[in-house]
């Protein structure tokens, strides 16, 4: 078991390094750097000036070295420019070349400076992540119970009318990506001209013009039912169908297993068969799926935050990419990679924990 954990952790670190390196490589491509030079310096810089700027700001040299510096595995660069001032990765306004630390990378907590937010990456990411955290929490609270319930209900009697109805719902929901369901939900529930809101307003059932708010900008400061429902439902809808289908598949498989027949034929009632005998075995597979949904939830978050203008992590990622803010984009990637790997670990451990066949071997 210990060997397993050590191997798993080793693999995780290797994956993290590989992923961050790929991101670093792709964000620090020459054209991106040139673009950065022109935005930071001036748009009409000559080719030579651009080259000069790139080297002067520590973006020259081998990509491996730069990655090492950024990660904090190698000493930061130090250069003396033509004016004789010593500049370096770790030299900031608050320290001198002498007092500056040798290493200053992600591992040391120095994630660089965001050109978009005009403040350190770590600070800006912190608050955005908190905002997204609330969104994710709400999504999970809606999505997990709903999808498991749907899956179990439809899988427990395969082919029944309940099953057919719920399965159709699940299929429809997996066929509706966030940008589609978001648009439809807004048009239906948050538009003053079409959908339900004009009707409700004309009947005088709602005070404002629309039932729900079409944007979630205000939710940053104050989460309410009216501004948060649509974004949460938009993300959850897509996931519900997927997890419910997994649960259903797992449940139907378990319900046809021989040991369920054994239980039934020893006189256990149908309810007890489902709850005591089937459920635990049926939930092993969906548990992994739910955990592995996190990387994909990130996608939903990006789309929804863009669509509803909710300034969280996903919105930040879009801004970082759109504005060529390399440090911010790298920061976002580190967070994303971290989240993905941690959930994978939880999923592995949970799988082992839920499944006595593996736990005890």
């Amino acid at each position: 078991m210990l060997m397993f954990v050590v191997r798993r952790l080793g693999l995780m670190i290797l994956t993290a390094l590989a992923l961050t390196f790929i991101v670093f490589f792709l964000t620090n491509l020459r054209p991106n750097l040139e673009k950065l030079a022109r935005t930071e310096g001036s748009v009409r810089m000559s080719e030579e000036a651009v080259d000069q700027w790139i080297i002067q700001n520590g973006h020259g040299g081998s990509v491996f070295v730069r990655y090492g510096e950024w990660m904090g595995l190698m000493p930061g660069w130090v250069l003396t420019d033509e004016k004789g001032t010593v500049r370096g990765r770790c030299i900031t306004a608050t320290n001198t070349p002498e007092t500056a630390p040798r290493y200053c990378g992600v591992l040391q907590g120095d994630w660089g400076f965001s050109t978009f937010f005009k403040k350190p990456v770590l600070d800006s990411l912190g608050e955005k992540l908190a905002a997204t955290g609330w969104l994710m929490l709400a999504v999970m609270l809606v999505m997990v119970p709903a999808s498991l319930l749907i899956g179990v209900l439809s899988g427990m009697r395969e082919g029944s009318r309940t099953d057919r109805a719920l399965s159709t719902f699940s299929i429809a929901s997996t066929a509706t990506p966030e940008y589609v369901s978001g648009v439809i939900l807004v048009a239906l529930l948050a538009s003053p001209v079409v959908g339900l809101s004009p009707l409700l307003a004309s009947w005088g059932w709602i005070e404002g013009k629309t039932l729900f708010l079409g944007t979630a900008t205000s939710a940053i400061d104050d989460i309410t039912f009216w501004n948060f429902t649509l974004p949460v439902m938009t993300i959850a809808l897509y996931g519900i169908g997927y997890i419910a289908r997994m649960t259903r598949a797992s449940m139907t498989e378990v319900m046809t297993a021989q040991y369920i027949r054994t239980a039934r034929l020893k006189g256990v009632s149908f309810g007890a068969v489902v709850v005591k005998h089937a459920l635990r075995n049926a939930l092993i597979a969906p548990f992994t799926v739910i955990m592995l949904q996190f990387p994909w939830l990130l996608n939903g978050v990006v789309i929804v935050e863009t669509l509803f203008n909710y300034k969280g992590f996903g919105w930040t990622l879009v801004q970082a990419a759109g504005n060529n803010d390399i440090n911010l984009l790298l920061g976002c990637s580190v967070v994303a990679v971290f989240v993905v790997l941690v959930t994978q670990l939880i999923s592995d451990v949970g799988y082992v924990f839920l499944n006595p066949r593996i736990r005890l071997s």
Binding site: Y259, K266, G267, S269, N281, I284
Partner: protein, 698 residues
């Protein structure tokens, strides 16, 4: 009909009375009758055996008694009375009270029958908690006691274990314990030992018999194995294609059968005394009818020797009682006219093929695997000794049987011989060529085509998405046979003739063939390149009894014609005795005994062979068998015991002085006539051994 009927029930009446039961399955296209007009009675304390080939409806009857036929199955006629109460019209709630408490069932796959995520104790305790409203603590205590009753060691550990931590034999004992938790009046056993090894099966059968007596439980025992039914049951019901064809007391049916199907069945199974040359088996011609293609009148008619048109196919044939018997009945219109004692007419005596020069010689062959322990990979590497010092020779035209249970290394041996694996050490001499370290890719086409294999599972041996003809032609292409497509096509059709399949089968897909037909195609494919050595890995064990004989005979005929060396891997000693010239018995990678068939089947035995012989049920009332039941399960090849591999289960161990068996690998003793036994027992003790199987004096 209230539950008070339990107490009012008169024990002289039948426990279970099935009357004219008919069951159908409904598919989108049609209604498929699975069981027609089935009647039987089980009295208190009686064990009723239900015998028949796969698809005859015997399991359907069992499930109908449990009223668990699934969505598509429905009882369309007749009644099932349990203690006088009609089960067919009972509501769910009432059924629930009977299931598990009054009628319990034991299934074929013990592993699948136990919930993998629940402790054994919890699964057992659940039964009295539901039916008797017993408290949790009491129920667990009872569970512990019943676990001890089914003779499992260390019951305290077992009730706290999960199913996967037990071996197959232990799991089946747990399933039996579960069935006995509330002392049911009727126990239904559906092929309870089919998935187990023979020596483990013997233990389970003994247990079932003893517990039946101890608790006075009636049994409905479903099996395809006539020998097993004879061991366990006092009454038998033979089924064919959805109907009961003959029923009666076991001894009566076995000795004075009154239905042609029962007779044909007995003639097609290898009993002691059968011989491939002098008294070959007689297979039943034709195929089992598909449920929706059953003939009019007698279902067995088209395959019956006594068939008389206009009479057997006139209309429904009822069960006729046989006078002066113990409820012996038969569904044969001509049963009074048939001379039941006449010898079969068409038994063809065959010439024994001469045995030629040595074609295959193995010396000190060893095959070790290193596997990683633990489920997560990595960790310590362990060495599995799959084959240990294997030495033998096989001659042209000879049949060498390799006998052993799971984990004995017979499949590894086959892989090494075929070149799918290379030997760790030792030598294989094939037609005077050393091949022990030549993997199959480096063997030349001649060598490859002359050593071929016939596989066990007929449903797996053919590629499901290629036509039969195409699969044989591919073998011909690979063996570089013929110069054109026409050549190969012609040869393929000849091969189909050889295995007695119609030429039209060339364009069929494997799913359109029956199990026996697929196995024939597998044989044709193996002989495509004129194989000289054929390894047959349990080629008939997955087939029905009546088909087994036909496939075995086919294999023998081709062997006789081509003077092929046949290495016949099997765990079934009956068939081994019937067809082999020499026998090699393997246990945990070691050859424990080797000799001619007569030598191996007569004392002196290796203690393992002795137990194996005793464990195999024989469907012959004239055979007296000594019961030797081995303790425990076969040890894992990953973790073999020190010293003699068989010492953990050997009943002769005390006869060897000085605990030699625990410490040292026994030497190979060469007895008279080149009979090898790998055992520490002294020659004197070996000589005192008695035969396991004796024919009763007539």
């Amino acid at each position: 009909m209230t539950t008070s009927a339990d107490t009012a029930w008169d024990p002289s009446k039948p426990i279970l009375e099935i009357d004219h039961l008919s069951i159908s399955f409904f598919t989108r296209l049609r209604e498929i009758p699975a069981v027609m007009d089935f009647s039987c009675k089980v009295m208190a304390g009686e064990a009723m055996g239900l015998v028949g080939e796969s698809g005859c409806g015997k399991s359907t009857v069992a499930l109908a008694v449990m009223r668990d036929l699934g969505k598509n199955g429905r009882i369309v006629g007749g009644t099932i009375k349990f203690k006088g109460r009609d089960l067919t019209h009972m509501g769910e709630e009432e059924l629930r009270h009977i299931r598990g408490s009054e009628i319990a069932m034991i299934y074929q796959e013990p592993m699948a029958s136990l919930n993998p995520a629940m402790k054994i104790g919890a699964q057992l305790a659940e039964v009295p908690m539901i039916h008797q409203g017993m408290s949790r603590a009491d129920a667990w205590a009872l569970a512990r006691q019943i676990v001890a009753d089914v003779r499992l060691p260390d019951p305290d550990r077992i009730i706290n274990a999960y199913p996967h931590q037990l071996s197959g034999g232990q799991q089946q004992r747990i399933v039996i314990a579960m069935a006995l938790m509330s002392k049911p009046a009727l126990l239904i056993l559906d092929e309870p030992t089919t998935a187990l090894d023979v020596t483990v099966e013997a233990g389970i059968v003994d247990l079932v018999k003893d517990l039946g007596k101890k608790y006075g439980t009636s049994m409905l025992f479903i099996s395809h194995n006539l020998g097993l039914v004879m061991d366990v049951c006092n009454r038998i019901c033979v089924m064919y294609s959805g109907e009961a064809v003959e029923t009666g007391a076991v001894t009566e049916v076995f000795e004075e059968m009154r239905h042609p199907y029962t007779q044909a069945l007995f003639r097609s199974i290898p009993l002691p005394g059968a011989d491939k040359n002098a008294r070959p088996l007689i297979s039943i011609p034709g195929n089992f009818p598909l449920p929706h293609e059953r003939p009019k009148g007698c279902n067995f008619g088209p395959r019956c020797d006594y068939f008389q048109s206009g009479r057997c196919d006139a209309g429904e044939i009822p069960m006729f009682p046989v006078p002066n018997s113990d409820r012996h009945e038969t569904r044969c219109a001509k049963w009074q006219e048939i001379d039941w004692l006449a010898e079969p007419a068409k038994r063809a005596v065959k010439q024994k093929a001469p045995i030629g020069k040595v074609v295959l010689k193995m010396e000190d062959l060893k095959k070790y695997y290193s596997v990683s322990s633990g489920a997560f990979g990595g960790g310590l590497k362990k060495v599995v000794k799959a084959n240990e010092t294997l030495s033998f020779e096989a001659r042209e035209g000879e049949t060498l049987a390799i006998v052993g249970e799971s984990g004995c290394g017979k499949s590894t041996f086959a892989k090494v011989l075929m070149g799918l694996e290379t030997a760790t050490s030792g030598s294989i001499l094939l037609f005077d060529e050393n091949v022990q370290s030549t993997p199959i890719q480096q063997r030349n086409t001649d060598t490859v085509s002359s050593v071929q294999m016939v596989f066990q599972n007929p449903f797996d041996t053919l590629n499901p998405s290629m036509t039969v003809g195409r699969q044989i032609i591919r073998a011909l292409e690979i063996f570089k046979h013929g110069s054109s497509d026409e050549d190969r096509n012609r040869r393929m059709l000849e091969l189909l003739d050889l295995v007695k399949l119609p030429r039209a089968f060339a364009d069929r897909m494997p799913r359109q063939l029956s199990g026996g037909q697929k196995q024939r195609v597998g044989i044709a494919r193996a002989f495509a390149g004129g194989a000289k050595v054929v390894v047959a890995d349990e080629p008939v064990s997955a087939l029905d009894v009546s088909v087994q004989a036909a496939v075995t005979d086919l294999l023998m005929d081709i062997q006789r014609e081509n003077r092929t060396t046949l290495l016949f891997i099997s765990h079934d000693l009956s068939i081994v005795r019937y067809l082999s010239d020499r026998v090699m018995v393997m246990y945990l990678g070691h050859v424990v005994e080797m000799g001619t068939t007569d030598q191996v089947f007569q004392p002196p035995y290796h203690p393992y062979t002795e137990a194996l012989l005793s464990a195999v049920p024989i469907a012959d009332t004239k055979v007296i068998r000594k019961r030797i039941v081995l303790e425990g399960d076969i040890p894992s090849a990953m973790n073999p015991p020190p010293g003699c591999p068989f010492q953990t289960r050997c009943r002769w161990k005390s006869q060897v002085p000085g605990g030699l068996c625990d410490r040292e690998m026994p030497p190979v003793q060469v007895l008279e006539g080149g009979h090898n036994i790998k055992c520490h027992l002294s020659t004197e003790i070996l000589q005192t051994m008695e035969p396991v199987i004796k024919m009763a004096a007539e």
